[in-house]
């Protein structure tokens, strides 16, 4: 699949994982994409394809699973997956970053169909996810899962640590975090990122962020009474 004239037309879902590079190319103009543009692609795909119970028809359903993209930087992979799953029309992708486009270089939930939060400034998604999990619990909605995706450099922001400690102490077991670890945090995380969650009482798994089966196993591991963090390791950003 190398051409700009993709055989699948809009509306001809389902798209497969193999179609994502072509969808990405509509935003990047490039046929090949480096690790930085695709660090989140596999985790996003496995979540939307096999884990999250949300579809374009249920984006307003109170009982849907929530996915909050906290790491709003480099959202092309997110937009490509949302397009592949029918949340937004694939023909919108080419407008990426344009004045009238709903698709900014950071997502805005008021503009992007299917986006649960607007993000861009780092460290906002996890506290918002904590509140979302609290709000669902308070309304007796114990089934919906709340997922949030952050980056290992984003984890520098102290607001994450406020949320991690609280969620662990509170036993917010419908909260799940996936940390895309491309070794981009300036000072690193000695002892590993998962240790920060474990110390606060979270269930954790650290897996190869390109291995779909490993991601799926980690995403679906039961974690009764505790929130769950999956550290998905991918190629270092500056390798």
């Amino acid at each position: 699949m190398t051409t700009a004239t993709h055989p699948l037309r809009p509306g001809q879902a389902p798209y497969g994982f193999a179609d994502l590079p072509e969808l990405l190319s509509r935003m990047t103009g490039a046929e090949k994409h480096g690790p930085a543009a695709t660090s989140t692609l596999d985790a996003l795909w496995v979540l939307y394809d096999r884990v999250l119970r949300v579809t374009p028809a249920t984006v307003e359903d109170r009982a849907r699973d929530r996915f909050l993209l906290s790491k709003g930087h480099g959202p092309m992979a997110y937009y490509a997956v949302l397009a592949a799953k029918g949340f937004l029309p694939p023909e919108l992708l080419a407008s990426f970053g344009g004045y009238d486009s709903p698709l900014g270089h950071h997502p805005d939930r008021l503009l992007v169909p299917g986006a649960e939060i607007g993000s861009g400034s780092l460290g906002h998604g996890l506290p918002l996810a904590v509140g979302t999990a609290l709000g669902l619990r308070a309304q007796g909605l114990h089934d919906p899962a709340v997922w949030v995706l952050i980056g290992d450099a984003e984890f520098d922001e102290g607001s994450n640590h406020e949320a991690v400690a609280f969620a662990g102490a509170y036993g917010l077991d419908r909260l799940q975090v996936v940390v895309i670890d491309n070794s981009s945090a300036t000072h690193g995380w000695r002892g590993g990122i998962a240790a920060r969650f474990e110390t606060e009482g979270w269930s954790t798994a650290t897996v190869d962020g390109r291995d779909h089966e490993a991601l799926h196993r980690a995403f679906t591991t039961p974690h009764p009474g505790r929130p769950h963090a999956v550290v998905a390791r991918v190629e270092p950003k500056n390798s």
């Binding site: 109170r62 805005d108 939930r109 008021l110 649960e116 939060i117 607007g118 400034s121 460290g123 906002h124 996890l126 506290p127 918002l128 996810a129 904590v130 509140g131 979302t132 999990a133 609290l134 709000g135 669902l136 619990r137 308070a138 309304q139 909605l141 102290g158 607001s159 406020e162 949320a163 400690a165 609280f166």
Partner: protein, 297 residues
């Protein structure tokens, strides 16, 4: 008399019983006062600990699920410390909340600068959509809290203080109240400033307006109160001049003058009591009278 904060705790506990949409988020401050309510509503009274970024972020998340969050702590830790969360986790997400502060600008002078937030209203003025209430009495605080919690998914800030006027006024959100009528300039007293303003303007031919809600700013009310001169004096219990632009906008098509009185921008490195600080800021009756008569000439 109970304080505004006492009344906030009592009334909110009652509202939690009757309104299933309400949820209270705390950051340790006032948590003891909400202990009984937390027992009755364990999922809707949440204390996140001393974590103010999470306080606002969690409020935003609660609102995303359709609840009406009330977040509360001292003004310095509710507005100033997590200001980016106020900007991005509420308004930018398209959700509302009720933020209820205590301590204000000078409630704990012995606590010093770290617990003073005279800039909170000015900060909110940089964001769209905020309603700002500055009650001057616990009864007014109750009325405005009832209004704010029931006001759909709007953005509401209720600024509580231990500094209060002797009597409550029949306040209406968004409307200035005429307390004394004269034929000259207008003096607008905000919240706890009213008693000192009334004393300071005794015998002067001015109209005294009272505002327990400053955003939206009742431009029509200010216009209607003008006498034979378009002079307005604003007396606010936070940063001096915070509402000056709103007053200028209200009078834009008239030759006019505005004097903005309030807490000065300069750091005041003294402790002591509220009266001592008000006097030092020129916000006691004597200081106000001197500056108002100086301005009006």
């Amino acid at each position: 008399m109970d304080t505004m904060r006492d009344r906030f705790i009592a009334i909110t506990a009652e509202l939690l019983d009757s309104d299933p949409r309400l949820a209270v988020v705390l950051a340790d401050i006032s948590a003891a006062g909400f202990a009984d309510a937390a027992v009755r509503h364990p999922d809707r009274v949440v204390n996140v600990g001393i974590r103010e970024q999470l306080l606002i972020g969690a409020a935003g998340g609660l609102a995303l699920t359709g609840l009406r969050p009330i977040a509360h702590t001292f003004a310095s830790f509710l507005i100033e410390r997590p200001f980016e969360q106020v900007k991005l986790d509420l308004g930018h997400q398209g959700v509302g909340a009720v933020l209820v502060s205590a301590s204000g600008s000078y409630d704990w002078p012995a606590g010093g600068r770290t617990h003073m937030a005279p800039g909170d209203v000015a900060l909110l003025d940089t964001l769209p959509g905020w309603n700002v209430h500055v009650p001057g009495h616990p009864d007014e605080a109750e009325a405005l809290l009832r209004h704010a919690t029931a006001a759909g998914d709007s953005l509401q800030y209720v600024r509580l203080s231990v500094h209060a006027n002797r009597q409550a006024r029949p306040v209406e959100p968004g409307r200035f109240l005429t307390v004394r009528r004269g034929s000259g300039a207008v003096v607008l007293a905000v919240g706890p400033m009213l008693d000192a303003v009334l004393a300071a303007t005794e015998g002067l031919d001015v109209t005294v307006l009272y505002a327990a809600t400053v955003r939206p700013f009742d431009a029509a009310g200010l216009r209607a109160a003008l006498g034979d001169r378009a002079d307005a004096v604003l007396v606010e219990p936070y940063l001096a001049g915070t509402s000056a632009q709103a007053a200028h906008d209200a009078l834009a098509d008239l030759p006019h003058r505005v004097l903005g009185l309030g807490v000065p921008r300069a750091e005041h490195r003294h402790y002591g009591s509220i009266p001592e600080h008000l006097a030092a800021y020129g916000l006691d009756a004597a200081g106000l009278r001197q500056r108002i008569t100086g301005f009006l000439g």
